[in-house]
């Protein structure tokens, strides 16, 4: 199947950004409409691809290849998606569009804001579509500058500190990853991600594996290199938090599956117990720290760390079911946490507060926000009927039954404990923020308006859809996962 669908999806937002940067005389409204147009079209194309994808054939489809883009080290412009990456692409285009809607009320330097947001989307989409390691890395780095500026200009709190912290962590991870990728090239002789399968556990392969893994671990994030995340998420503007939590950190999980597990199956197997243990630490430590948070946004941020632990657990239990679960969890967490951050943003916008002790009794004043926030919260703690349940259930089922290494069941059971803590902090948070006696100063607080309802109800619908019928995604994810495990 040919046609440059993927290039179009990737570069449309960039074209939009260039238009925004250079078109003379644009009103704020025109800027927002352009941004919306250049994100909704990629979403429709990716949704079309999702249905055009040939599940029976599997493998990489919609492939595009320009050979010898960088000669002498044989880097190609090589794009393609399989079940795994297509899922991520759809998630990205969906959240990319919703992020534009969520930012509709931005009034500070509107043009620049949307231009950077669109550049960011291009970078992330490129990561999920690239099949050449250097191209992958190139897109991986594109996200840095937009994210840095988005946090440091439009953020809140200690935004400049958070922004530079994010950049330094990320660039350290990606610098080591680049070393790993180059080392890999001179070991295996190609950057073609579809060709690279290195069997065996040698010292060289182990070094490469961990160099590359480090880059993904920073992004996911994995304890102990997670500390950039709460700062960046908390201080970023709402829509950027949605993108950060919704898709950006998924690049880490995606990379672990696509590169670490798929290219180094034996090394991954050898170190699976260690990495699964780290994952369990992530789950429990993240959840425990979340309990203690008093800042609404920071609470959601820390919960992401805990939830990404499930992803990592699923990945390094290395069974088809657990990897499918991990991918579904990435998608599900993307929409749930995206929604949670959007709701946080709404609460902050309406009440101008986000410290939990200063909030309370909002339920009467903003019924829609409360209802949606509760749905998102319940989905985050894995209530059956929501995507959170489907994803976490498959992860645990997959890891418990994987038998990949000894005592994998124990790891799983410890991981399940995370859900209990999650239920604790989510319900406690909902209770403190929304219930109890209403506060006087909230007398004139308004509920979400129509425009704000569009993105949040869209996300609720997706959460429900996946919760009720997960096969819509798992069928396609499986076609991507099966060949990885051979």
């Amino acid at each position: 199947m040919s046609g440059h669908y993927l290039s179009i999806i990737i570069f449309l937002p960039l074209v939009g950004a260039i238009l925004l940067a250079f078109l003379p005389k644009l009103g704020a409204r025109a800027v927002k409409l352009i941004a919306a147009a250049f994100t909704i079209v990629p979403f429709f194309i990716s949704a079309t691809l999702f249905f055009m994808f040939d599940k029976a054939a599997g493998g990489f489809q919609f492939v595009e290849m320009v050979e010898d883009w960088i000669p002498f080290i044989h880097v190609d412009y090589f794009l393609g998606v399989d079940g795994l990456s297509l899922t991520m692409v759809v998630l990205t285009t969906l959240l990319g569009f919703l992020a534009v809607l969520i930012s509709w009320k931005i009034d500070l330097r509107v043009r620049e804001y949307f231009a950077w947001l669109l550049v960011l989307e291009t970078g992330i989409l490129g990561v999920f579509c690239a099949l050449d390691l250097i191209l992958f890395f190139l897109f991986w780095e594109v996200e840095l500058l937009p994210m840095y500026l988005l946090i440091s200009i439009w953020g809140s709190g200690r935004r400049e500190y958070s922004a530079i912290k994010f950049v330094i962590y990320t660039i350290l991870g990606s610098a080591l990853m680049l070393a790993g990728i180059l080392l890999l090239y001179f070991t295996a002789g190609t950057f073609d991600m579809t060709q690279l399968h290195l069997a065996g556990v040698t010292p060289a392969l182990t070094i490469i594996f961990f160099l590359i893994l480090f880059g993904f671990a920073v992004k996911l994030p994995v304890f102990p290199v997670h500390t950039w995340l709460p700062d960046a998420h908390t201080d970023a503007p709402t829509a950027v938090s949605v993108i950060l939590a919704g898709i950006l950190i998924k690049m880490g999980g995606y990379g672990m599956i696509r590169i670490c597990v798929s290219m180094f199956p034996d090394v991954a197997l050898a170190y699976a117990p260690l990495l699964a243990a780290l994952a369990v630490v992530n789950v429990l430590y993240g959840a425990a720290v979340t309990l203690r948070q008093t800042d609404l946004k920071r609470l959601i941020a820390y919960s992401s760390i805990s939830h990404m632990g499930y992803v990592m657990l699923g990945i390094f239990c290395l069974s088809e079911l657990s990897l499918t679960g991990a991918t579904l969890q990435m998608f599900s967490h993307g929409i749930i946490t995206g929604l949670l951050f959007a709701m946080c943003g709404l609460v902050m916008e309406k009440t101008h507060r986000r410290l939990i002790p200063t909030l309370g009794g909002l339920a009467r004043r903003m019924p829609v926000i409360v209802a949606v926030f509760s749905v998102a919260g319940l989905a985050a703690l894995g209530l059956p009927g929501t995507s959170g349940f489907a994803a976490e259930f498959i992860v645990f089922l997959g890891s418990f039954s994987s038998g990949t290494f000894r005592f994998v069941e124990v790891y799983t059971i410890l991981g399940v404990l995370g859900i209990v803590i999650t239920a604790g902090y989510i319900l406690w948070m909902l209770q403190r923020v929304f219930f109890g006696p209403p506060k006087e100063e909230d007398e004139h607080v308004e509920d979400a308006d129509r425009l704000e309802m569009v993105p949040i109800f869209a996300l609720v619908a997706v959460i429900m859809l996946i919760g009720i019928y997960p096969a819509i995604l798992t069928d396609i994810i499986k076609t991507g996962i099966a060949p990885i495990l051979g």
Binding site: D68, I70, V142, L145, I164, L176, A179, L183, F186
Partner: protein, 476 residues
């Protein structure tokens, strides 16, 4: 026929003299700048027509091959950008514009000869021609800082020249010839350690050339000279002069000392690691953007030397590629700095606050160049780093690559700090920063170059490969 081989240099010399003479009669000094640019373009055309030739002239003193021609094009291009971006700046030195332009042209001639000679004495002469022009240019503003810069550069430059000459004398004494090709055949076959005198000679050569490329530990002149010199001259020093240094190093070390490559590559690997680390770490503490870019250029010299440490085709063409990418990037950054400092009359990074409001396009251009210096795609700097790092990796210099990537992280901090200052914070005044058409043209050429190389590196890689194979063809 020999004169034809020398046509790029001769034509440029001619124009330099014409500029000085016309300066006496012409009131509208902008015409002189236009004339200089025309001279550079004519010289460029001569250079391009020579492309593809493999010849020597004047008793093998002049070598015309793709390697020297590529470097000549780099110098011509950089000199052209410098003159375009000086148009605003030279109003400060109204009386001496003719001299200024002529000195820029003459130093370009010197650099072109540096890249195009195959013989030690002519290298030295060309180096001095360049150096003397640059000493004068560095002190051109005549204020205390500029004078200090000029004097410091002159004194340290003289010491470096002496060291270099001493090294050349050692090599000549041991081999009996100053011709690079003949030196190579007189090299000992059992490594450098068998001949202590040669070892000293090579070390002195490294020190002398190290001054030119401003690598640690021969960098002490950089911050003061970069800060004090007129900004266009600083740009010139950091790009063209450095590139000329690398051209000579490549020529001398590959052609004359090629048989000892395993020995000197270690020296360069160690110097590379030290340069990039010290340059980047010290740059963090800088508050003056010219000093910061000075230290950054020391760090960049470190990355470039990774290419010298890598004795493979990939490393050498990577070095040339990196140089071209660096030339565009650093020029772009300095051009933006020239425009901004013209207006705000300060080089302090804190005075760049809110510059994105006052000069959106300048700020965008400077951001692009700083991003490229950091090595973030889709810019030339990223491609250059990928290329040179992969060369070093191929040569098994894993330790050096790890140091280099960690340095990249460190450098992101101070490069992006400037971006942050420009885009966040309220500007000191709402007044727009003006820039002349010539400067905007120069900046857009530099930025387009940065993007073009970053997105389509193929053609430049091929040229770099051709250039280096012309040079390497001399030794196995």
């Amino acid at each position: 026929m020999n004169l034809y081989q020398l046509s790029p240099e001769l034509s440029l010399c001619f124009f330099a003299i014409v500029v000085i003479l016309l300066d006496l009669f012409i009131k509208r000094k902008r015409l002189l700048a236009a004339l200089s640019v025309i001279g550079l373009i004519i010289s460029t055309i001569f250079t391009i027509t020579l492309w593809g030739e493999q010849a020597t002239a004047f008793n093998r003193m002049l070598v015309v091959d793709e390697f020297s021609l590529l470097f000549k094009l780099i110098f011509l291009g950089v000199a052209c950008l410098i003159i375009l971006s000086s148009v605003d700046y030279v109003s400060r030195i109204a009386r001496y514009q003719g001299e200024y332009l002529a000195l820029v042209l003459l130093s370009a001639v010197g650099m072109m000869l540096m890249a195009g000679t195959g013989e030690l004495i002519s290298i030295y002469v060309a180096l001095e021609l360049t150096g003397i022009c640059l000493y004068v240019l560095a002190g051109f503003l005549k204020d205390p800082k500029s004078s200090e810069a000029g004097l410091k550069y002159l004194l340290l430059g003289a010491v470096a020249s002496a060291v270099l000459l001493y090294g050349m004398a050692m090599v000549f004494g041991l081999t009996g010839t100053t011709h690079l090709g003949e030196i190579a055949s007189a090299m000992p076959s059992d490594g450098i350690l068998s001949s202590p005198a040669l070892l000293i000679g090579v070390v002195l050569l490294v020190a002398g050339f190290g001054f030119k490329i401003a690598c640690v530990p021969f960098q002490m002149w950089v911050p003061d000279v970069y800060e004090g010199a007129p900004t266009p001259v600083t740009a010139y020093l950091s790009v063209a002069s450095k590139a000329a240094g690398f051209a000579v190093i490549l020529r001398v070390f590959y052609e004359a000392l090629g048989p000892l490559s395993l020995d000197w590559s270690v020296i360069f690997a160690v110097l590379a690691a030290i340069s990039m680390t010290i340059g980047n770490v010290v740059a963090i503490a800088q508050t003056n953007i010219k000093r910061m870019l000075g230290y950054s250029s020391i760090a960049q010299a470190g990355y470039l030397m990774m290419g010298l440490a890598t004795i493979t085709a990939l490393g050498q063409s990577g070095l040339v590629f990196f140089l071209v990418a660096y030339a565009f990037t650093n020029m772009g950054a300095f051009i933006a700095v020239i425009a901004i400092s013209n207006k705000v009359n300060s080089d302090l990074i804190s005075d760049y606050t809110g510059m994105a409001r006052r000069a959106p396009l300048l700020a965008l251009g400077l951001t692009l160049c700083l991003v490229s210096l950091t090595g973030i795609p889709p810019t030339a700097g990223f491609m250059a780093k990928v290329y040179i790092f992969s060369a070093a990796m191929q040569y098994q210099l894993v330790w050096l690559v790890v140091i280099a990537v960690i340095n990249t992280v460190v450098s992101a901090y101070y490069y992006l700090r400037v971006v942050k200052v420009m885009y966040t914070g309220a500007p000191a005044s709402e007044e727009r920063v003006p820039s002349s058409g010539a400067l905007r043209l120069a900046l857009s050429i530099a930025c387009l170059g940065v993007l073009a190389i970053g997105i389509l590196p193929g053609p430049l890689l091929q040229i770099a490969e051709v250039a280096m194979s012309a040079l390497i063809g001399v030794f196995p």
